[in-house]
Amino acid sequence: MSSLLIHSPILIIAIPLLAAFLTPFISRVSDRARDALVIATLVFVEFLVIILAVDIYRDGPHIYALGASSPLLAMPEHYMVPVRIVLQVDAMSIFMGMISATVSLAAAIYSVSFMRNETGKDKFYTLLLLLTVGMMGLEFTGDMFNLFIFLEILSISGAALAAFRTNFADALEGGFKYMCISAVAALMILFAVGIFYAQYNLLNIAALGQAIQYTMLDKIALTLLMMAFFMKLAGVPLHMWAPDTYSVAPAGITPMIYVASQACMYALFRVCFSLYGVTLNTLTIGWIVIVIGVLSMFVGVTMAVRQSDIKRLMAYHAVSQSGYMLLGVGVGLAVLGNPQALAAYGKQAMEGGIFHIINNAMYKGLLFLTAEALFYSLGTRDLNKMGGIAANMRYTSIFFMIGALAISGIPPFNGFASKLLIYESVYQFNPMLSVIAMMISIITLASFVKVFQSAFTGPILPHFRVVKEVPGPMLGGMGILTAIIIFFSLFPGLIVDQLIHPAVEALISRGAYINAIMGGMQ
């Protein structure tokens, strides 16, 4: 058990990778065996993530040096800097890892019946597992170059999956946009990594964090990295790919691509807090993050209100919700250099932002899945053509209602808990921002009332009278996410104390992150 725990950071990445390349072989034998393999792999990954999380929350961060004579040996003998590929998993990384693992599992279960009648499923599951590998790697990696590698894995598999249903005309467009934006972002990151390597001869994030001077070149690198990550997380004004890609991706994949964007948001926070930390001008950079956050919130929600395609509507809401996370963590970043303000409201704002990440991954994932369940049963995504299906699709409408109430921040759901944390703390930083955030929450509710009213309520349309509830595995995938939402709604205090607070501490305490690698042999 203890050796499984030591090796778990790499196993979480390596086992889905192994399974990804096994699926084409298993597919030749039987489809059923392949589905079982994919689900079993993701269940095992979830198990490893949970035991690793328990250990990290109890005993502190894990490191894993690949190819070393002991995985805990970050630096080889007689070396002053880490030269190996190092994974560094702290409370923040494993927190993101839990989100990715859970959503991937729910997505895979959902896909089993959703993809039943599609062809090329061996490739679909290979790509799905590779997308999981990309997210996990991005969240666990301890060096900049591997951050780039895993971002590429995530982007390529994400783009291929978004364009998977080539029988729809717009699928290729969505995939192509995602590919373009990812390629540009990846090149910018590679360039920034080159700048770091040329200056410091280092790639390891912790070692770079110790050496970084915040020279002119570092500022250029920071700009490149921030722009690349804003592109990948769909922050306004770089959000133009999100509605196209999210709306065409097969169900199950949409939540995964969304969580992949959140993994890129994690990378942004990691770069800002652990790599640069207080060396950068925190107030300016913090305000940049806040402004992009507020813009995303506002533009996302106003664009969402006028959509009639249910998935495009939800995609714009996804952009808008990302704004809340950027707002919360941006306020934390802005006051990072000011210990009093950080203790007074900065940490609370970050807790709100980070709690919103997991809440949003769950209810946004659920809403995407319900939207695609409607599409699966009705054959249309146009809200104007739907009506009164609550009677025939009871479970889906309950799931939708829970997701919609949670995203609009209605008490007692979990969206309310994280938004309240953000409102309260941001109010102390700048009251105007808090007012905007509240107003946007109201527009979100209005938009979802419209969806619920036009799709679910009223008399059933005659041609939908034969519509049936979606099959069991699809309900199962949605059920997993709903159960988590309800759990979070019932015990928000527990979640914030046990999960969110350590993650925020891990993100803020840059010294501890650097020390885990540079602080000598363990």
């Binding site: 090796h7 390596a14 192994l18 002991s70």
Partner: protein, 152 residues
């Protein structure tokens, strides 16, 4: 293609293949390695395709076989990485053993093929993956352009 192109390719292709394989085999000693060697090998496949047309090549190399070979390469690579898991992932467990196990001499020397442990084997695995993958890409693109051409 014309007879000149075909006979020149016939003459060149074996050398391109051998050079590609050489780069894969010597990846741990000289510049190059699995990816570069595989790309060189696949460029030979591209030449074959240009010179002789896609239909002949399609008969010889089935797309699903290439796809399987690609997965095999990837699996072999990950398998080798898992081989060292008793110590650590990617641990070079073959150093000192009877397979590629020599410890390389220090200082200027001619290079010993039988060194590197798992690295030459990983190069071969990557080489196999790249050969299969790039050949598949070239083949699929040729077939796709053939089909659009015949529709015109």
């Amino acid at each position: 293609m014309s007879k000149i192109v075909r006979s020149t390719s016939e003459f060149l292709i074996p050398f391109i293949f051998i050079f590609g394989l050489y780069m894969i085999m010597h990846g741990h000693l000289t510049p190059g390695g699995g990816f570069q060697g595989g790309a060189v090998f696949a460029s030979g496949m591209a030449l074959l395709l240009v010179a002789f047309g896609s239909h002949k090549l399609e008969k010889k190399s089935k797309a699903h076989v290439l796809s399987m070979l690609e997965s095999t390469g990837a699996l072999a690579f990950i398998g080798l990485a898992f081989g060292g898991i008793a110590v650590g992932f990617f641990y070079n467990f073959l150093v000192g053993s009877s397979i590629f196990g020599h410890i390389p001499p220090s200082g200027p020397n001619r290079g010993d093929m039988w060194t590197g442990g798992t690295i030459p084997l990983m190069n071969m695995a990557v080489g196999l993956k790249v050969i299969a993958g790039l050949s598949l890409i070239v083949l699929v693109m040729a077939l796709a352009s053939d089909k659009t051409g015949s529709q015109k």
